[in-house]
Subunit: 171 residues, 2 copies
Amino acid sequence: MGMDTIETIMNRRSVRKFERKPVSDEDLHTIIEAGRQAPSAANRQPWHFVVVRGEDLRRQVAEACSGQSWLADADTIVAGVGKPSVNEKWYAVDVAIAMQNMILSATALGYGTCWVGAFDQERVRSLLGVPEDMRVVALTPVGVPADTPEPRPRQPLSEFASLDRYGKALG
Amino acid sequence: MGMDTIETIMNRRSVRKFERKPVSDEDLHTIIEAGRQAPSAANRQPWHFVVVRGEDLRRQVAEACSGQSWLADADTIVAGVGKPSVNEKWYAVDVAIAMQNMILSATALGYGTCWVGAFDQERVRSLLGVPEDMRVVALTPVGVPADTPEPRPRQPLSEFASLDRYGKALG
């Protein structure tokens, strides 16, 4: 009983309005497990995820994200933290892959999410007690959506894809 | 009739053995479309995907990927190219998100994939005619798998996830 993969990918939206309703512990564990199963360079898993559920803390984290207070309306905020000491070159890409797994699994479970890249690195790190040698890569809320945004425009195929050689139409 | 999202995420493996069988044009377009629908910072879509199908070219690209010749056995290789000029800070993360969408949609359609990060940037760029101001972030083969690898080990929950504060058990 789930949502089809292609459908999930095509229907995911960046949600910025949430109901004050909980994410179940079971769903949260599924979402975290989806991140855990992500591939990473040489399987080094240079990541850590801080799952922010306390309401006061969510408000402070939202404030540290350029004051995007809507973030705290979601039941949960997940902060994706990278470990440059484990893999300096690939940690950001690996955290991104794991977070996209989480975001798609949350979407499939009916939750809204939104990649958040505008935040104060030092403040978020300090609020969440993240060690100094690690870096917050991005955050996402996970909550019951109160909005169904329309799809945003995307580049035409000819601009973002080529066949065999850059600029040659994929057709 | 597709594959459930959570199942796709949990069952994805890094496949390094392929049948000499084609990826259909229809499936390839679905996979590319899955990348196109990925979110990106400020929706700037700082990416381009070169879909390598010619066999000679696939052999040359595989050679430029530390001689991983198995790569060329897959019907198609997709090179994810980032545009630092469009978004210097986020291009690699955004390409990673779009590629994970592609990889999961390919998995759902029954194909094997594998994140490849070991490659000669200049050689791949030159083989695919990628402009000098862009950067190849990673590649993946897309093909009919000839192997079903076992899951690789992953860190225990306590090592990669925390509740509210780094190091506090998620439980």
